[in-house]
Point group: C2
Chain length 147, copies 2
DNA sequence: CTCGATGCAAAGGTTTTGCACCAGG
DNA sequence: CCTGGTGCAAAACCTTTGCATCGAG
C-alpha cells in the first residue's frame, strides 16, 4: 500500500527536497482509486490539494524525480499525452487504436508473455506496457487512426 | 509481396489521385528491407527518390490516405514520433523503455496473446502493437525513462 | 474544367529548457 | 548559507490545419 507519506519518504531517501507542490503531487498519487493520470490531470488534482497553482513544468520535473526514484512510471498509450501510474500497480493496458478505449490487464493474464519477453532478453513484469489493438466496436473499421 | 505498383493501384482503387510525391512515397514503402520508418525518415527517403522536396504535411496526408486504404499503419513506439509500416508486415515490437532498442516479434510468437485480446473483446492479429519493457542492458536500472 | 493534392505558414498539443528568484535542509 | 526547486516564458518537437495555387482525371 502506497501512502502519501511513503512517497515522500522515498523522495527524501533520494536526497530530494520536500516542497509543498511535491507533497500535493504525492498526495494525489497516493489516492487509493487512482488508476493512471496524464500530467495535466495530475497538475489539476494537485492544485486542488494544494489550494494554489502549480506550474506544469514543476509537475513534469516532479514526475521525473519520482521516476528516478522508481516510484512511478509513465507510458504512452497510443495517441496523445502519456500517463503516469505507480510502479507498484502492476497492471498493463489494452488500448483501442481507434477510440482510445482502455482495458486494464492484471499481471496474471500475461503469463505467456513473460516467457516471451524473457526469451528476447527483455524484462517481464517490472514495466508497464500498452498493447494497442482494436476494441469490439471498431474491429472491422478501415485503417484510419484516431490521432 | 508489396510493390510500388500495387500500392499505387490501391490508392487509385480508393479514388485517390496519383501524384509524383505519392509515387515517391509508395516507392519508399515498397522497398523490400523497409522495417518501419518515422514520417520524417519517410519524407527524406521519398525526397531522394523524387529528386526534390516534399512537404512534411504532404507526407502526413499521404500516410493518412494509405491508412484509410488499410495499406499502412502507424504505431507510437513509446517515446517520440510514431513509425509507419506496411499493414501486410504482420509483426510486433518489443521496445526498451530506456534506450529505445527494438526487437521485432513475428506473429507466431504471440499466439497466447491473441487469445487474451479475444477474451477482452479486442481484435488480435490485425493491428500492429508495441510492448514496452526493458532490454537486457537496462533491466535493473532505476525508473528514469528516455524521453 | 473541377475537385483533390500540394506547399507554405501558422497553430495546436505535449514536453523540455533557461533563468532569475525563492526556500528547504 | 547553499543548492536545488519553482514559476514564468520561450523553445523544441510532432502533428494538424487553413488557404491559395497547381495539376490529375
Amino acid at each position: 500500500m502506497v501512502t502519501r507519506r511513503s512517497l515522500i519518504e522515498a523522495l527524501r531517501r533520494e536526497g530530494m527536497r520536500i516542497t509543498a507542490p511535491r507533497e500535493a503531487i504525492c498526495a494525489v498519487l497516493a489516492e487509493p482509486d487512482l488508476g493512471h493520470v496524464s500530467v495535466a490531470e495530475l497538475q489539476q488534482r494537485a492544485e486542488q490539494v494544494l489550494g494554489r497553482g502549480i506550474d506544469l513544468s514543476t509537475v513534469y520535473r516532479t514526475v521525473d524525480a519520482l521516476q528516478e526514484a522508481g516510484i512511478v512510471h509513465h507510458v504512452h498509450l497510443g495517441h496523445g499525452a502519456s500517463v503516469i501510474h505507480l510502479s507498484e500497480e502492476e497492471h498493463h493496458h489494452l488500448v483501442c487504436d481507434l477510440c482510445g478505449r482502455t482495458v486494464d490487464l492484471p499481471l496474471e493474464e500475461l503469463g505467456p508473455l513473460a516467457e516471451l519477453l524473457e526469451r528476447h532478453g527483455y524484462e517481464p513484469g517490472t514495466v508497464h506496457f500498452a498493447i494497442v489493438s482494436r476494441c469490439l466496436s471498431h474491429r472491422d473499421d478501415p485503417g484510419s487512426a484516431a490521432d
